[in-house]
């Protein structure tokens, strides 16, 4: 069973992230959330994923969010209205997902479809095929290599996109006028 404690803690943090209007706190809570999910991944035997989630979620993403926070208001404006629509969408999505779980195979069972088809091939054959003990690396870089190439290009695209967006020096002065002092409504 997944660590129920971890999951419960994550729910608490997620709610806190949504509720807080202090974006700095939200970023920090999000980092903790990432670390917790990394721990969860580790519990689920996904070492590579855990390492990555820790490095990305708690590391890169948080640093980037903080870097942007240095440029924008720290406190979120209180939102008004249209939460009902959001709530409706979310509830429908959630209901659909719950509905979906009703016929899911038993968690962690070794005879789940996911464990008997394709997956075993990687477990059994990746060492004979390529002499690589880390099956994740084998699948990532050889069996499903084109996916990983796509991933590399996604990162490349992100680099180009940020280069295109922020490689330009700012010219407009509008941001200065509306940057209110940060001490207001620190609730």
């Amino acid at each position: 069973m997944i660590d129920i404690g971890l999951l419960t803690f994550m729910v608490v943090i997620a709610i806190a992230v949504v509720r807080t209007r202090d974006l700095f706190a939200a970023a920090m809570l999000f980092a903790i959330y990432s670390l917790l999910s990394a721990a969860l991944f580790a519990v689920l035997d996904a070492g590579d994923v855990a390492l990555t989630e820790a490095a990305v979620g708690a590391g890169i993403s948080t640093i980037l969010i903080l870097a942007v926070l240095a440029l924008a208001r720290r406190y979120e404006h209180p939102t008004g209205g249209h939460n009902l629509v959001a709530l409706l969408v979310v509830l429908i999505t959630g209901a659909a997902l719950i509905y979906a779980t009703l016929d899911l195979p038993e968690f962690g069972s070794a005879d789940n479809p996911a464990q008997v088809h394709v997956g075993p091939y990687y477990i059994e054959q990746s060492y004979p095929d390529m002499g690589v003990p880390n099956m994740v690396a084998a699948v990532l870089a050889s069996y499903r290599s084109i996916d990983t190439m796509g991933e590399a290009f996604v990162i490349f695209a992100a680099g180009l996109a940020v280069y295109a967006l922020l490689g330009v020096r700012p010219r407009s002065g509008r941001f200065r006028r509306r940057r209110e002092p940060e001490e207001e409504d620190a609730s």
């Binding site: 440029l71 690589v132 084109i146 991933e151 590399a152 490349f156 941001f175």
Partner: protein, 149 residues
């Protein structure tokens, strides 16, 4: 943070360690968790730490912006061309077997190469993105000084 002497000293020890760790997960990826992506992130994190402590200008002297940009493209091209080598040597795209005579050696060579490509791209792109975000603030301030309200 730049004034903090202790931090500087700690960083002086820490950053090489981080880099070393990055290289380890880059090239030990087939045996233990890790690979190009994680390595790239770790190396970039080390560099970002350097930039936070010693300043962005100093960090950019280590790897200039233009170099990062070129290396990012180099990384993906390395990946793509490794794939292409499979075709040129008579196999399919991203087929590593034709690369070297030994089967395992060929696969491992291919995996290491493409992972290295990923690592380079990830590291440089993360650095690049951080550079732009971090520099934005000073650019804004420069702008405010030029035309005071």
């Amino acid at each position: 943070m730049r004034e903090n002497g202790i931090l500087r000293i700690v960083a002086r020890f820490l950053i090489p360690l981080i880099m070393l760790f990055g290289l380890y997960i880059q090239f030990h990826g087939e045996y233990s968790p890790g690979g190009g992506f994680q390595a790239g992130v770790v190396v970039a994190a080390g560099w970002i730490l350097f930039a936070l402590i010693y300043g962005l200008e100093a960090a950019l002297k280590v790897i200039p912006e233009r170099v990062m940009y070129v290396l990012a493209a180099f990384g993906v091209l390395l990946y793509a061309i490794t794939g292409l080598m499979g075709v040129i040597l008579g196999g399919r795209y991203l087929d590593f077997y034709p690369l070297l005579p030994g089967e395992h050696a060929a696969q491992q060579f291919g995996i290491i190469t493409v992972e290295f490509g990923v690592g380079v791209t990830v590291a440089t792109v993360v650095m690049l993105i951080f550079t732009y975000f971090a520099r934005r603030k000073s650019e804004w301030e420069a702008l405010s000084e030029e035309e005071p309200e």
